[in-house]
């Protein structure tokens, strides 16, 4: 009888341990409405700027991997004709409907985060227009209760993604595109 009891409690212990381990492995922070803004404005010309306010971002605090996805059609410009040209002529959103990022946070430990802003490096690959480019950025990171906030920016060029800018508008669009991101990742 005693033997059975010990066995049973051992089994329960193992089960609980397993459950805790799998819970930990699934520790994820998600933002469904992340903000990504890019800007390629030139002085004296109309601003070339678009924002997407429903970008997805997922951070696994176990593996420190971060993944993000922006639907190209979700980028909105102030000028609707510019938006149309962006979709049809430059980024060809019907063929390439998504921009994706996959990367790793360097030396990141979620347990060390608090309300003070710390800089976290991220390294990864950005895929736009079907082409990939390595990206490195510093993210201002803080944690308020169960929400991790990350903001940052990096620069890319249209050429990185084989996007050709026609001659007639070349001096109206900056050579470098500044990409800004703002994620509020909530614990899931």
């Amino acid at each position: 009888m005693k033997n059975v009891n010990i066995r049973l409690s051992l089994l329960i212990l193992v089960l609980i341990n397993g459950a805790i381990a799998s819970l930990r492995a699934q520790e994820k922070y998600i933002d469904k409405n992340g903000i990504v803004i890019f800007e390629a404005s030139e002085q004296l010309f109309e601003e070339v700027k678009a924002a997407n306010e429903s970008v997805t971002a997922i951070l696994s605090t176990e593996t420190n991997q971060i993944a993000s996805l922006a639907l190209i059609k979700g980028f909105h410009f102030k000028n609707s004709l510019m938006e149309e040209h962006f979709n049809e002529n430059y980024i060809e959103s019907e063929t390439y409907p998504k921009a994706k990022f996959k990367g790793n946070l360097i030396d990141f430990n979620v347990a060390e985060l608090d309300e003070n802003i710390t800089e976290v490096s991220v390294e990864g690959t950005l895929e736009v227009h079907g082409r990939q480019k390595g990206v490195h950025a510093k993210l201002k990171t803080q944690k308020i209760r169960d929400i991790i906030s990350m903001t940052g920016e990096f620069k890319v060029t249209p050429g990185d993604f084989d996007i050709e800018i026609p001659k007639i508008v070349r001096n109206k669009i900056a050579k470098e595109v500044l990409v800004k991101l703002d994620f509020k990742l909530a614990k899931k």
């Binding site: 998600i30 469904k32 409405n33 306010e53 429903s54 997805t56 997922i58 993944a67 993000s68 996805l69 639907l71 190209i72 059609k73 979700g74 909105h76 000028n79 609707s80 004709l81 938006e83 019907e94 409907p97 998504k98």
Partner: protein
Amino acid sequence: MRGKKLYAVLAVVLVLLILAISMYNYIYKGHRDISTEQVAFTVSATKIHMDLSKEDKVAKYVDQVVQIEGKITAIEQNAVVIDDKVQINFSKEVSNDLTIARPITIKGRCVGYDDLLELVKIDQATVVHNN
């Protein structure tokens, strides 16, 4: 003779003016107003999710005005998820009280399929029915 000349000048000015106005309208035309556009597809959340998760059906819905019904499964800032399958972002603050598990019908623009979260995304949405 002078009268004819005056008319000719006036006509040229008028044509130029019309050209200028139509150029301006072309370059600075307004954005689409999804809430007043006609609905292209009326579907359930499950159906649009099933269709959009297959690559070949994506083009059918993307950028189209869709009307979708389902149950609210999550509420976020100015956005809801229905049936765990479709994420709706509203065009302006929703004054109606939204409650989890209640049925809702919305109209909005289909942005596409998010394969990270396995969600269909809709933006510029307005509430059609909320009960």
